[in-house]
């Protein structure tokens, strides 16, 4: 995958799934995906991560839900790590 492709894919996905993301020029790394950030509810969060798995051909991206509060940066950096592949 080309450099920056994961970032672009994630940001496109967020814009398509989070109405609050559409109005923003930038989606900074520290922006939360849930309440207080992009406002995705529990079901939308799961669907977003499952979609990441499908589009990028990765496994257990949804496992990120068990960790700290998800941010744009956290998601992108996880998708970039070789262990996710």
């Amino acid at each position: 995958m080309k450099p920056g492709a994961v970032e672009n894919e994630v940001r496109d996905l967020l814009r398509s799934r989070a109405p609050l993301a559409r109005d923003r020029d930038e989606l900074p790394d520290d922006l939360r995906l849930g309440p207080g950030g992009l406002g995705l509810d529990s079901i939308s969060l799961v669907e977003l991560l499952l979609e990441c798995e499908r589009r990028l051909g990765l496994r257990d991206v949804a496992g990120l839900l068990e960790g700290p509060p998800l941010t744009v940066g956290l998601l992108i950096s996880h998708l970039r790590t070789p262990t996710a592949r």
């Binding site: 849930g34 309440p35 529990s42 969060l45 799961v46």
Partner: protein
């Protein structure tokens, strides 16, 4: 506190030790005391409240339904007291599960409402033929393994993590048991008894994403015991929008509950009755 209320509270308190030795007798007696309590107080529910929800009932029939709801509530109070004191062991022998319940096959989402003897569902689902995951906000007592319980309390990400584990459980060929009328996250407001009821989106989204059917589940008192029953798998036409499909399933679930309660109005618990009539929880005695 009024003296009749003190007398009935004392009577129910006296049934608690009896329930340890002769549970069926204690639960039958609690039902009789609860009916009498309602008949004398004409409160929670009053016949008029019952008639407001079931306008097809004549005043006399509405009064009888109100008495029986009084009996249901008294039995449930005693059941909760038993479970708190002794866990599920004394409750298990009271549960009757029909053949069609034991013949259910996973993956399956079993959705229940807060009607009837809802606290008796935990020991009942131990008899399902497969691993069971119960999603609950609170739980009086933990059922036996292989039944697992996950709390749906917490923030959005914590609920999302539970949702993901429930998806994995269904994918591995399990049952998920979940309340349809408790809405910790997103929900749908759907028509119900000429009013509306809010149902959780989670169970329907779970079924859609996992490709598993949703089937209603209920428990009802039969004398001193509890009978478990299931409704048919909810079926709706496929919709292009996932949320539309889920809302249609929620509407179908509400229609099942409506049919069930029109047939057996005395299965309606006070919590649902209060919420339908617009009262705050704990608004009565």
């Amino acid at each position: 506190m009024s003296w009749p209320r003190r007398i009935f509270d004392a009577l129910e308190g006296g049934l608690a030790p009896l329930a340890g030795r002769w549970p069926r007798l204690a639960f039958t007696s609690a039902a009789a005391a609860g009916r009498l309590r309602n008949r004398l107080s004409r409160r929670w529910p009053s016949p008029e409240q019952v008639q407001a929800l079931f306008p097809g009932l004549e005043p006399g029939a509405a009064a009888r339904v109100a008495w029986r709801i009084g009996g249901l509530e008294a039995r449930n109070r005693l059941l909760i007291d038993r479970i708190r004191r002794q866990g599920l062991d004394p409750v298990r022998p009271l549960i009757q599960t029909p053949e069609d319940f034991r013949a259910l096959r996973p993956p399956l989402v079993l959705g229940f409402f807060h009607v009837g003897a809802v606290q008796a569902l935990s020991p009942a689902v131990e008899r399902l033929p497969g691993p069971v995951l119960i999603l609950r906000q609170g739980l009086l007592s933990t059922p036996r393994p292989p039944v697992r319980v996950e709390s749906t309390e917490g923030d959005g990400q914590r609920r999302a993590a539970v949702f993901r584990r429930a998806l994995a459980h269904l994918a591995e060929g399990g049952f998920v048991v979940v309340a349809l009328d408790v809405v910790p996250g997103p929900g749908f407001r759907v028509p119900f008894l000429e009013r509306s009821i809010e149902l959780a989106r989670g169970p329907f989204a779970l079924a859609r994403i996992a490709g598993a059917p949703v089937q209603p589940l209920a428990a009802r008192w039969r004398g001193g015991g509890v009978e478990i029953l299931t409704g048919p798998a909810l079926a709706v036409e496929a919709a292009p929008e996932p949320k539309v499909q889920e809302a249609a399933l929620a509407g179908e679930a509400a229609r099942w509950l409506e049919r069930y309660l029109l047939e057996s109005p005395a299965e309606m618990g006070l919590g649902l009755l209060r919420s339908l009539l617009g009262f705050a929880p704990d608004g009565g005695s």
